[in-house]
Amino acid sequence: METLNEFINSYFLWRDPMIVGAVTGAICGFLGVFVVLRRIIFVSATLTQISSFGVALSFYLESIGLALFSTLIGPFALSLILTSIAAAFYALKKDFSRISREGVIAFGFLIASGGVIILGDKITRGSHDIATILFGSAVVVDPMDVYLIPGIAVLVLIIHLVYFKDFIFISFDAESAQLFKYPVKRLNTLLLITVALVVAVATRALGALPVFALLALPPLSSLYLTEKLKLVFVFSAIIGVLSAVLGYFFSFVLSIPTGASIAVCASIFFVLALVWQGIRKG
């Protein structure tokens, strides 16, 4: 009880990260449904790593005296550019001669992860910043993120509101969509760019691990909870919010890394959903 009171009294400390976390949880939960249904979970993992690489690269350029470049293209912009290029590449390029798609995704993941660690080692600001990018241990967020992340979430939601039926159609039956003269490649790219946009901004604020967890686990949980497609999106967004909020809460009261706490909370929801499915099916 005392801990709870202490938590409530310290609201000025956690209010901003909680807002950012909750909005990120909601939008990642929503977008994650497409990621899971299209079986591209590891594309999202790769995008989070590429986004981290963009942030790390920006820090590195600043550390070697290219501050002007860093000012012109800040961590967010660089991360967004690299993540969007990768998203467009994965959306447009389906066939890789003699190499499986998974192999190319793994290549992107590994080169970005390796790059982040190497750049982290070279950055004079210390490894703490890189750990923050990767695992989201930051308890505080940039004040700008309190406006930027909800703004981007609203923009992405508007795009999805307009093209929801089309994104479902191309994800479920791309061949018929092509037959009906739908611009399948452009819609695929738009869908993955919205994922890239959210990943770029959320990774910088929360870290790669919690963003990946929020993209993958809430949708997987909600697929166990309901058989109705639209409800899957609603439940996934709610579980995303709860995972982020509870993750921050436990991080605060137990003094554990925030990113890891969010990932564990999302995992607990997944296990609960699995149990619920087991009970329901008898």
């Binding site: 079986r39 479920f172 061949e175 037959l179 009906f180 611009p183 819609l187 109705k228």
Partner: protein, 237 residues
């Protein structure tokens, strides 16, 4: 009568690797075409070329202006991870007439309801597609195809995953739809009996033997080409 679809000296194949050339074909409305051939004979490649899902390697394909296809693919191709309902799938049939970014109108929804009724699956509309039997899945895909009010109904192995009774029911349904709406039907199958019973025109295709024959069913059957085609003695007595 004008041709809905016309192929002139078309060569089909994937990525510039030709499978078969010199294909000539003209399909008119209210015709029922059966496409026969063994596995891997090029049936699906021909179908996808006609549907403009694959570009022809050479030759010309002319489709009547604003031609609408109703397509019934093999139901195994759909990923069961999607918790998508029968009604949602049938609604997709209307997307041939609803542009990206636009929503279905009340009229579209009425047509979807009518399509569900006409194939006898109204009671399944809220069920998930993945929970249906093979026959129910085919009916759902058929309802989706007719919801688009097509000029040509294209069926890819529509009876592959159903039993004999289900096969007869699906084929009677297709025949009924054709009789009511005068659509042209193009059906791929490797079941000779099904195709020869319901179609009035036949296409025999086998890329390995470089066979492509198309015409009235009676003509194709008369030539005794089925014997050569299937490598069987179909008239032992």
């Amino acid at each position: 009568m004008t041709d809905l679809i016309r192929l002139e000296n078309v060569e089909i194949g994937y990525e510039k690797a030709g499978l078969m050339d010199s294909i000539n074909l003209a399909i008119e409305s209210n015709q029922f075409w059966g496409i026969l051939g063994p596995n891997g004979s090029g049936k699906t490649t021909l179908l996808k070329t006609i549907l403009s899902l694959l570009p022809p390697i050479s030759g010309e394909i002319s489709l009547e202006h604003s031609l609408v296809f109703g397509y019934v693919p093999q139901n195994e191709k759909f990923d069961p991870i999607f918790p998508i309902s029968v009604c949602e799938i049938v609604s997709m049939g209307r997307y041939s007439r609803v542009k990206p970014g636009k929503r279905l109108t009340l009229l579209d929804r009425e047509i979807v309801t009518k399509s569900l009724d006409s194939v006898g699956i109204s009671h399944l509309k809220d069920r998930t597609f993945r929970s249906l039997s093979g026959g129910e899945k085919q009916r759902t895909l058929l309802a989706r195809a007719i919801a688009g009010e097509p000029d040509v109904l294209v069926l890819d192995e529509p009876t592959a995953s159903v039993d004999i009774k289900g096969e007869a029911e699906i084929m009677e349904l297709v025949k009924k739809i054709q009789a009511e709406s005068k659509v042209a039907v193009l059906m791929v199958s490797h079941f000779l009996n099904t195709v020869s019973e319901y179609s009035d025109h036949l296409i025999l295709i086998d890329k390995d033997s470089n066979i492509f024959q198309a015409g009235m069913k009676a003509e194709i059957l008369k030539h005794g080409s089925l014997d050569t085609f299937f490598g069987l003695n179909l008239h032992p007595n």
